[in-house]
Amino acid sequence: MTHPLRLHVPEPTLRPGDSPDFSGVPIPKAGSVRRPPVDADPEDIRDLAFTIIRVMARNGQAVGDWAPDIDDDELRTGLRHMMLLREYDARMLMAQRQGKSSFYMQHLGEEAISCGFRRELAEGDMNFPTYRQAGLLIADDYPMLLMMNQVYSNEGDTVHGRQLPVFYSSKDHGFFSISGNLATQYPQAVGWAMASAIKGATNIAAAWIGDGSTAENDFHAGLVFASTYKAPVVLNIVNNQWAISTFQGIARGGSGTFAARGHGFGIPALRVDGNDYLAVRAVARWAAQRARANLGPTLIEYVTYRVAGHSTSDDPSAYRPKEEGSAWPLGDPILRLRDHLIARGAWSEERHTQAEAEIRAEVIATQKEAEAIGTLTSGRLPSPAHMFEDVFEAPTPHLVRQRHEMGV
């Protein structure tokens, strides 16, 4: 007897109006996952793509093999980076709502990933980021004024008003200009890393992608090359559950986890709690060590949740339960690191409240400085003269002519 064929289309379990429920997401206990040596055979650590590496327990203690050795000062610095990023996001979101910028993208809930990862890189290493890794800049002390100038697209914008807000670019801070055509980051980072190896240099590269764009062919081509040539690269997948309105099951398909995609390529894969600052630092350190030791690429899936909308043009209440963000079982990365610091006696509720106020004042002061230069609609805007620059190494005759015709 024959059956008619049916098309399988994965659906998220919950939609607007439903009560958030993450009971189906298995969360292993902090400290329960082993830390293999960096030269482990990928075959022997396949299980690490199907679990979640976690360091900070509910009581704030750092537990298990993965607990990294990081001193109090550095951890307080890490907390400050995440708090700065969150405040920066809040101010820029408000500025967008006030019409001072056309567009903004926040990191709410994902601050630990880019802030933590950056601290495990060295000077001269290169990131090929997406638009949700501004922590790479903040944790490398890139001036926030320059970030705001870029979002406002004012005269102080180092890319001269050419890019969408949040598409920062800084070679010196290892932050390649963001491509909004996602997944190009993968083969390009692998190529950059291979170049570093061919030259006999010591710098490594990092690629960034979200859960959704792992479906792009670039992702797969990047993995082929990284695997074949053992490129010194860290391949990061930020699984924040939502690709705009598309739930992660659409890109993941039947593979169980995104980390497991590495197995077909023989690339060691780790799956980590993206809201656990210590766990992020620990896996980033492991992967960077592998790359620097010529052991090749590592694929890392950060399990997190995009609490805010995809961008200021997005309204998540149209496609997911409103309270899902607060129900996310892995918690708030800032509060978790705060609690850990308090548990180890290096921080207090009072100091945290005071730090919040100081950071807010600092960000507002920087914002005033940026707005004194200009915003999208007022003040000193990028010069039209820059419009004709950097198309080529030197302006061509027809560009010179067009520029003169414009009178600039």
Partner: protein, 467 residues
């Protein structure tokens, strides 16, 4: 001072929206960050916050109003001591006045449009002189080489000169290239610098783009440019634009090369001329040589430069032999056309394999007493229109020849340029000889018809010479 609150643009594409709900009323005090209203765009409902402190003096647009254009005043904020009556809704009036016909009604006055065209504001800007070819000293010997050999020599010479140069592509190493252009490179430079890739143009173009950002100088061979469509995002959206998007911080010194255009009987998906496509992209340089000497000299320049280059070769030309100057360092600058033959009656402009038809036609025409000046553009971006214009000012007639499609084409751009720069010198319309506007058919007879032919060029020249 009273300030107007304008309808905000809440997304880059928003032009208008619905003012769904006011969350404040007239007389309310607000401070920066307070939510004033809910606004619906085509995508979402969003909250709109106050920028300044003050009192809501007047609400100009009622809740529920649809189609409120961005930047329309929607409310007025007043400071202490001001009343809503003081409100100067000046910008409203201005907007209304702008819509109304102006008192004199001269907006459509003939004097405005009938005014003779002013000279171009840029006309006073001197055109930079195109850089000349390297001098070929007297007594230089020439050797007969195929285009294939000349391209190989260019790569080998640059690889010897600079460790950062390497070649990658499908079958470039062990197999010596699908068209044998990389012959001998693996033996000389080893597998570290001559790299066979998996079959993923998108993958290795992205990889090369990344390697170029990492200060290497990759030469990417596409087996044919038809397959480069897989990789177009890296070529166009990254390689071409990175210098601009990064504010000049990063460049992508990569050369994408391989055969372009029709070979023989490989039909629609394998016979396409991409000259006009790539020539349209700011940030790219585009070369399309005809002779072996130019192929060699231009490829050397392409490899040395910091600008990404699309280097369009031709399968049918690979085996053609030309005289190549036997010089240690023969690099030809981009943006300088070559005048193949001088003539007085008509200018024929072409590039790449189009030169074959141009030169054959010139020979036929010479037999009929028509003297044609034949110009090879050699590079399409930058393009040496100056040489073309000077020639047209002398011959007063022009025919362009290319294999690609007509709309729009390199020829249509040349026509517009000639019309602008040499309109008064023209004795006949510029004619563009191109391939037919159809995907390439497979059948030999149809293929021949679809391509531009020598006969068509001859006929076009006769027509512009009114003979």
């Amino acid at each position: 001072m009273a300030t107007e609150i304008l309808m905000p643009a809440l997304s880059p594409t928003m032009e208008e929206g619905t003012l769904a709900k006011w969350l404040v009323k007239e007389g309310d005090e607000v401070k920066s960050g307070d939510i004033l209203a809910e606004i619906e765009t085509d995508k979402a409902t969003m909250e709109f916050e106050a920028v300044d402190e003050g009192t809501v003096g007047k609400i100009l647009i009622e809740a529920g109003t649809e189609g409120v254009k961005v930047n329309t005043p929607i409310a007025v904020l007043v400071e202490d001591g001001e009343s809503a009556d003081d409100i100067d809704t000046g910008s409203n009036k201005t907007a209304a006045e702008a819509d109304a016909p102006s008192p004199s009604g001269d907006a459509l006055d003939d004097t405005d449009t009938a005014k003779p065209m002013s000279t171009q504001p840029g006309a006073s800007v001197p055109e930079p002189e195109p850089v000349e070819d390297p001098e070929v000293p007297e007594g230089t010997t020439f050797k007969t080489q195929t285009v294939r050999e000349a391209l190989r020599d260019a790569m080998a010479e640059e690889m010897r000169a600079d460790e950062a140069v390497f070649v990658m592509g499908e079958e470039v190493a062990e197999y010596q290239g699908a068209y044998k252009v990389t012959q001998g490179l693996l033996d000389e430079f080893g597998e570290r610098r001559v790299i066979d890739t998996p079959i993923t143009e998108h993958g290795f173009a992205g990889l090369a783009t990344g390697a170029a950002m990492g200060t290497l100088r990759p030469i990417v061979e596409f087996m044919t440019f038809n397959f480069a469509m897989q990789a177009i995002d890296h070529i166009l959206n990254t390689a071409a634009k990175t210098r601009y998007m990064s504010g000049g911080q990063m460049s992508v010194p990569v050369v994408f090369r391989g055969p372009n255009g029709a070979a023989a009987r490989v039909a629609a998906q394998h016979s396409q001329d991409y000259a006009a496509w790539y020539a349209q992209i700011p940030g790219l340089h585009v070369a399309m040589p005809y002779s072996a000497a130019d192929a060699k000299g231009l490829l050397k320049t392409a490899i040395r430069g910091d600008t990404p280059v699309v280097f369009l070769e031709n399968e049918l030309l690979y085996g053609q032999s030309f005289e190549v100057p036997d010089l240690d360092d023969y690099a030809i600058p981009f943006g300088k056309a070559r005048i193949w033959q001088k003539g007085d009656d008509v200018t024929i402009v072409s590039f790449g394999i189009g030169m074959k038809y141009a030169l054959e036609a010139a020979e036929v025409l010479a037999g009929e007493g028509i003297s044609a000046e034949v110009i090879d553009l050699r590079t399409l971006r930058p393009m040496d229109t100056k040489t073309v214009i000077e020639s047209v000012k002398k011959t007063n007639r022009c025919v362009t020849v290319e294999e690609g499609w007509p709309t729009p084409s390199i020829g249509s751009y040349l026509s517009a340029t000639i019309m602008k720069e040499a309109f008064d010198y023209l004795d006949a319309p510029v004619l563009n000889m191109t391939g037919k506007d159809v995907p390439m058919p497979y059948a030999a007879n149809l293929e021949k018809l679809a391509l531009v032919t020598t006969d068509e060029v001859v006929e076009a020249v006769k027509s512009v010479c009114y003979k």
